[in-house]
């Protein structure tokens, strides 16, 4: 008998009485916080992100120029998402004398070596959660996973209407079907407390996270 068959056989032959209904639907507590942009900003800030509310993508572009200049960044990697296309990256590159590469222009092996050297990664997001100040990334060839993880500084652009109330809303969206290979919920900055309980930011992920809330 295979291990699979043996395990399932043992589970199925348990003699204690199981409820006859195959699966009860339980009610999780009603939403535990009511969310809005203000809440998203305060929660994301508390988690260690720097959050800025801006009126337009032009403003995002201006702020990015400042960041690149202040941090003297040489290489920037951006995803191939629709809302990022409205930013004039060529102009930004010229203004800051930095190299900006979209993952769409980078063939596989070049992408990997570029992304680990980039000082700044910029992505959009699919959703955000007000409850926890989380950005929800849907990964695909237009939003590769390491763009938001390998660079020291990660910038995420969130549109106001992408902000959902909480994880339960996200769960219902996920439960109605997932087609992408991976999703990541990012809340603030990577951290550890493994050295004698001292919280240190920037363990294996970005040391700095900036979120622009647009609109």
């Amino acid at each position: 008998m295979s291990s699979r068959a043996m395990i399932l056989e043992r589970l199925n032959s348990a003699t204690w009485t199981k409820p006859s209904s195959s699966r009860e639907v339980i009610s999780t507590p009603a939403s535990i916080v009511s969310g809005d942009v203000e809440m998203f900003v305060s929660k994301a800030t508390a988690a260690g992100a720097q959050v800025e509310e801006v009126g337009s993508l032009d403003e995002v572009q201006n702020r990015l120029v400042q960041i690149v200049q202040e941090e003297q960044l040489q290489k920037i990697v951006i995803t191939d998402e629709e809302n990022l296309k409205e930013i004039d990256w060529e102009q930004l590159s010229q203004q800051t004398k930095s190299q900006v590469q979209s993952i769409a222009q980078l063939p596989g092996e070049n992408y990997r070596s570029y992304v680990v050297e980039a000082g700044l990664g910029v992505t959009g997001c699919k959703y955000a959660l007000a409850e926890t100040g989380t950005v929800v990334l849907e990964h695909s060839h237009s939003n590769e996973r390491l763009v938001s993880h390998a660079p020291d500084h990660y910038v995420c652009i969130v549109k106001r209407d992408q902000i959902l109330k909480d994880r339960y809303v996200l769960a219902s969206l996920f439960d109605s079907g997932l087609s992408s290979t991976a999703w990541t919920l990012v809340t603030g900055v990577s951290r550890t407390a493994d050295v004698a309980l001292q919280v240190v930011l920037g363990m294996h992920g970005p040391r700095k996270v900036t979120i622009f809330v647009v609109g």
Partner: protein
């Protein structure tokens, strides 16, 4: 120190004397308890928090009631997503399966996300020895423990008992870190050291926090970002899960996630939650080209058949019960002699090892109930531990429990008879008092000859008072009656008024 559950008592004697470690751990537990209690207030007042925990318990009940069905549903959907699902009856088979994948994909180096099940099956040791691969733990605490070659101290904070000096010493010795006691510098050095390993690893190995049956997805939870590397950079991803880590859907998974993180680190959510649905597609670069899930039994399906022991599978590994446990906080992790210390070890170890080897674990519990009062998955630690004790007394073939010896059985029989008969009980107390108090020193009996010597080896017992509670109670009643009578003689009018009133 030979750390095995069989050596619980001797190791506990050593550990309990480490006062500085104990004070530090108690302080850490206090901080975490405060953080967790504060985080739970997000659900509302006490009753709202109870409701949230009850919902968590109900989710686990549903998962366990439908375990076979959910595992098959998960397998079907995971296969559809391109994830290959393998099943292992025990630790040996699980290790062999992973070794097979290492060979198939010509793996030389492996990066790992923190995974308790991989520790449980001894995967690192096996692969390094049998497959000649190099393995790097990605979680900082786990990495330190790996270099040091010791057991994790806590299921969430593996090196949380170590001082900065000890950590710096280990890293200096094993990976040439220039000695520093500055936490940010330590973190920065390890970040750079491991980043290189993450980028080059051929295979990533992780555990699974929840497998979602309805979509065939995996949910993985972390703060450091090592799991994101381990599941994004290598060519192959192998996820290990024990059979109980499955839930019906995302509504369930996200509710458990909230309870897990709030009771683990006191966070509403961790820095990263990864939801993985399959290997990368043709046009994608990040993510593995091949993805496997190994579903591991290792004794659990036998426990599942027992109506009470199946509840040992409720645990979602938040670690909250550990920091509530007065025993664990005083003796630390080492005496448990295995990777799950504290109450969760007491509950899980006997079904995975056996009742004889782990006897001291479930017998060392004081049954104070601190653990189950905070558990978000509805675990009845006390029922399970008393059940183990009964099984051990009676003997149980399924879990390697030999019946206790004739001397012990006879002792308990005599005790039971005495407890049922007030006359015998009184007489027994008299004899016991004389016998015990003869051996008392400074008000405590610390050793005993003969068959009781084992019991006293790691316990002491206060001297028995001259009078039992019942005698003192009767004496007090008599004294009160005497005083009332005296007052009546001295002030007859007042006594008469009192009576009328």
């Amino acid at each position: 120190m030979d750390l095995r559950p069989e050596n619980f008592q001797s190791v506990a004697e050593i550990e309990v004397a480490k006062v500085a470690q104990r004070d530090f751990v108690v302080m850490v537990a206090g901080v975490f308890n405060y953080l967790c209690d504060t985080a739970m207030t997000a659900y509302g007042d006490g009753s709202a928090q109870d409701e949230a925990r009850a919902a968590g318990a109900q989710i686990r009940t549903n998962s366990l009631n439908n375990l076979a069905e959910l595992l098959q549903e998960f397998e079907t959907n995971a296969n559809r997503n391109g994830i290959q699902v393998l099943w292992a009856a025990d630790a040996e088979e699980a290790c062999q399966l992973v070794k097979g994948l290492v060979e198939k994909h010509q793996v030389k180096t492996i990066s790992k996300g923190k995974s308790m099940i991989s520790e449980e099956i001894g995967l690192n040791h096996f692969l390094e020895k049998e497959a000649g691969v190099k393995i790097y733990e990605g979680d900082l605490g786990e990495f330190i423990v790996q270099l040091r070659g010791t057991l994790p101290f806590h299921i969430v904070g593996p090196a949380i008992n170590m001082t900065v000096q000890e950590i710096a010493g280990v890293l200096q010795q094993h990976i040439d870190m220039p000695y520093t006691e500055v936490a940010t510098e330590i973190v920065s050095y390890v970040r750079t050291y491991l980043r290189d390993k993450f980028e080059r690893a051929d295979m990533g190995i992780t555990g699974v926090n929840q497998a979602i049956a309805s979509t065939g997805s995996l949910m993985l939870v972390e703060n450091e970002g090592n799991i994101r590397w381990v599941t994004s950079a290598p060519r192959v991803h192998v996820a290990l899960m024990s059979i109980e880590k499955v839930c019906a859907n995302f509504a369930d998974a996200f509710h458990l996630l909230g309870l897990l993180t709030r009771n683990c680190t006191g966070q509403a959510i961790t820095s990263y939650v990864s939801v993985l649905n399959g290997p990368r597609r043709a046009e994608e670069v990040d993510g593995p080209e091949a993805m496997y899930v190994v579903i591991i039994d290792n004794g659990r399906s036998i426990a599942y058949q027992d109506p009470l022991l199946k509840d040992a599978l409720r645990c979602i590994r938040c670690g909250r019960c550990g920091i509530q446990c007065p025993i664990y906080l005083r003796i630390g992790a080492n005496p448990y002699g295995w990777i799950y210390p504290g109450p969760i070890g007491n509950v899980i170890a006997p079904v995975i090892m056996d009742l004889d080897r782990t006897r001291d674990l479930y017998e060392a519990c004081t049954l104070c109930g601190g653990c189950q009062s905070v558990c978000p998955s509805g675990m009845s630690h006390l029922d399970i531990m008393t059940h183990y004790r009964q099984m051990k007394v009676k003997g149980d073939d399924r879990f390697g429990g030999t019946r206790i010896c004739i001397k012990e059985r006879s002792g308990f029989k005599i005790l039971a008879r005495g407890m049922q008969n007030p006359g015998l009980y009184k007489a027994g107390v008299k004899i016991a008092r004389r016998f015990l108090n003869q051996r008392s020193q400074d008000g405590y009996i610390t050793q005993m000859p003969g068959p009781m010597s084992g019991w006293f080896r790691c316990r002491d017992f206060p001297e028995m008072p001259e009078k039992t509670f019942r005698q003192r109670w009767q004496d007090e009643l008599q004294e009160e009656a005497r005083q009332t009578a005296d007052r009546a003689v001295a002030h007859p009018e007042a006594a008469a008024q009192n009576e009328e009133g």
